[in-house]
Symmetry: C2
Subunit: 478 residues, 2 copies
């Protein structure tokens, strides 16, 4: 029996079932597919093309700030992972262990890297001798493995792709500056490229990275009001340096420990793109990251001159944008749905009547607005529209975030707010772990961060009523 | 006690100890370092920058021929690896096995991918339905693991970086065409970008890839006369398709099996660059792949105007080449050695006397020739010299290969030739495994390939004296 390829089907509405809507888009926009290994995914060409654009832009931002790429092994010997006490405690429960090479039992188990601090430290201990060798500003693009219990494509998977920066500095101040520099680069990238507004802040002790002295984060709000951590930047102080004995000779000839940082962003950002910009017709991509910015669809393409004109337009516009043309024998309506599903920012329709009038139809993916444009104006109109879509998506996302950001005075009030409308809730906190745990227990919310912007009144703790130490943003998170 | 950074030391001469010379360059040119995991390496910034250039150029060649990048999981369940009989037999003895996730024993062992045919097949079986879905032209950049007994950085390591293309086609002819197309792309890349001449040919049954119906290869000759396989391209026919049930509906509505290929090149190419172009002063890089094409070294840089002029030249030349300037307080002589070790194709020296005469000194890395160039001619002279170095390196390597390529009639003659001067030896072969094994036993040589160029007389087999089926290139290989 012959197999049939199905036409584009409608997807679950996000208001009906947000989780199902999400996986429908992952699947139908052909971003990823499930693999035969539990919790792992196949990143398909369209999803990977988004990742390649993320890589390209971020990598340039890293290089412009003096960072160099390297590649560390994917395996960490058990003894090496154990060198920093907090770090091993945080990661050991969720790593994959290699015990055999071919038919031989290994003398020491190796874990597949869940993150590479220990490997970078091991290397830095060898190559750093003097103050002349500092700073070391390294980054790597690779995949990491964390044996997660429940997984979802892009958001939480047993294996994911990411970049991890690992730097070593002469002084505490230099390391702190680097930690914040990279956080700011992440924030700029999210807002300017992904059109995702973020809140910058510091994690509480409970939520910080295993082995870090401070963790900074950028947090964003998804369409359903749940929070997503988009990137983190950690200041390690000299904790790892002491555990791994990374010392350098300073200008006075004395030995001193280096100060270190690490920072990472991952394929999780593709999940954020879906959940911040997507709608019931599928993905909506900001032009800056879209693999295809403009899709040309010839109408009545069997008629004389249509494909020729469409191709001519493609050649003209390819200098200004990432343009593709679909001349397959599928129906135009099928093509419209397909590229809406894939979130292509602009569609250009051109048929015999348009050619007669020397015009085309442009359709925006974000607003679905139809715009008739004389062909002679296309070269100015297309870049203009792409820029406007980029700007509009950020504004729209910012408005959504603002409309779902609330203030609470007590943990009960916080719970009530979140039960009604998920979002970010500002509330003051005393700084004690017990109160943070109580918020989790009572309201099912975690501290997302202590935002840099502390202009909200922080008078008394939402739990214990003692004087507040900081204002915290709470939320239910992915 | 303070640690001291050592000055550049001389390396072992390649004539004294080629293996030591090789590892000296790997280490002193800061390409890679040993890791704490057996047989794994840390690819350092300079080595990784070469790999990034390889990736960038190859990736564009793949995309220009219609290929798309994807990402498959790094784990393969044991049952999936076993689906194609020859394939599992070839790879199972050298894979790393994951048995535990966190504290839990896995219900099925997972191997870390040694190559990803089985994963691509598993995915293709799901996404290929009709002839409209063909061809599928996928590639991925990733790391793979093969538990090797003896390892050497870049040449043979337990983990290495590579690209693996995996394609599915409607017909046998299409798959064959793709296999050869990619082999040709590899050959073009090696010759035009890496300046490494290669011989294209087909592997014997004994040497072909586990599961392939035919394996094509490009073979190159190192400075010591040993052969290195630089890339391979495999035609699978419909063998994997039958094992994984990858069928499509053809135009007549009937189900048919797809025909598949795979092809790969790896970080081993960095080893080839060292061993083809390097000399007793270190690495020599072809400009097309060099992370730094021109290094500017100010002479007497404390004198007024020197650093300013050197920086001015850098800004001017940066539009034409990858240029860096070293204004560190190290001695000029140290800098000369350092960048010779790193194989930077061109060095520009500029000091007070040069500035007075409105000239600079250019020094070629390949010939170490000193050239005085008026500043006004730099913008034409630098690209000219870089192009000439690129061309010269290929010619030099080709001459070396020619001078070490011999003909033999018998296996004894072959052994004698190789014992005297390592190289490629052409000799006719009857096509029988027994004779191929005897050549290995008697002369310690393996069949590198049956070259496409079969113009050499192939009369009788070098072992058994029966009529020859093909001319074979034999050699001792890395």
């Amino acid at each position: 029996m012959a197999k049939e390829k199905k036409f584009v089907e409608s997807i679950t509405s996000m208001d009906v079932d947000f989780a199902k809507w999400y996986t429908d888009i992952v699947k139908k926009a052909e971003l990823a597919d499930y693999a035969s290994v539990r919790g792992c995914m196949v990143i398909r060409p369209y999803g990977y093309a988004i990742w390649e654009n993320i890589q390209k832009i971020l990598d340039q931002m890293f290089k412009d700030t003096g960072h160099e790429n390297v590649y560390m092994p994917m395996f960490i010997p058990e003894s090496l992972l154990q060198k920093e006490a907090d770090h091993v405690k945080g990661f050991a429960p969720e790593v994959a262990w290699v015990t055999h090479g071919g038919n031989d039992l290994l003398s020491e188990r190796l874990c597949v890297r869940p993150t590479s601090e220990t490997l970078f430290c091991d290397h830095y201990a060898k190559i750093i001798q003097s103050y002349n060798d500092l700073p070391k500003l390294y980054n790597q693009w690779c995949s990491v493995v964390r044996w997660e219990k429940t997984t979802r494509p892009f958001l939480r998977s047993s294996e994911f792709l990411w970049q991890e920066g690992h730097t070593a500095h002469a002084t505490e101040a230099d390391a702190k500056e680097e930690t914040l520099r990279m956080l700011n680069i992440y924030a700029t990238f999210c807002e300017e490229t992904l059109a995702i507004p973020v809140i910058k802040g510091k994690k509480t002790e409970k939520e910080k990275f295993a082995g870090a002295s401070e963790t900074y984060t950028i947090e964003s709000l998804m369409h359903d009001g749940k929070a997503l951590q988009c990137g983190t930047s950690h200041n390690f102080g000299d904790g790892f340096a002491k555990a791994f004995n990374i010392q350098y000779t300073d200008k006075t000839g004395k030995l001193a420990y280096v100060h270190q940082t690490s920072w990472g962003m991952s394929t999780r950002l593709i999940g954020a793109l879906i959940m911040v910009h997507g709608d019931d017709n599928g993905l909506v991509l900001p032009p800056a990251i879209a693999p295809i910015q403009l899709m040309i669809i010839p109408i009545a393409q069997h008629k004389e001159g249509v494909i020729e004109k469409a191709t001519e337009l493609k050649n003209m516009l390819s200098k200004l944008a990432r343009v593709k043309i679909d001349t397959s024998d599928k129906m135009a309506g099928w093509k419209f749905s397909e590229y809406e599903m894939k979130g292509v920012p602009l569609r250009l329709e051109v048929g015999p009547k348009d050619i007669e009038k020397n015009q085309v139809v442009l359709v925006r993916r974000d607003t679905r607005e139809k715009i008739f444009v004389p062909m002679s104006e296309l070269e100015t109109k297309v870049p203009e529209l792409l820029a406007d879509i980029q700007k509009s998506l950020l504004e729209k996302a910012r408005n959504l975030q603002n409309s779902k950001t609330f203030n609470a005075k007590t943990v009960e009030e916080l719970k009530e707010l979140l039960d009604k409308t998920l979002g970010f809730v500002n509330a003051p906190w005393c700084g004690e772990l017990a109160c943070e745990e109580k918020v989790k227990e009572v309201a099912g919310a975690s501290s997302r961060c202590m935002p840099f912007d502390q202009s909200d009144d922080a008078d008394v703790c939402l739990c214990c009523g003692k004087p507040a130490k900081a204002n915290v943003i709470w939320g239910r998170a992915y």
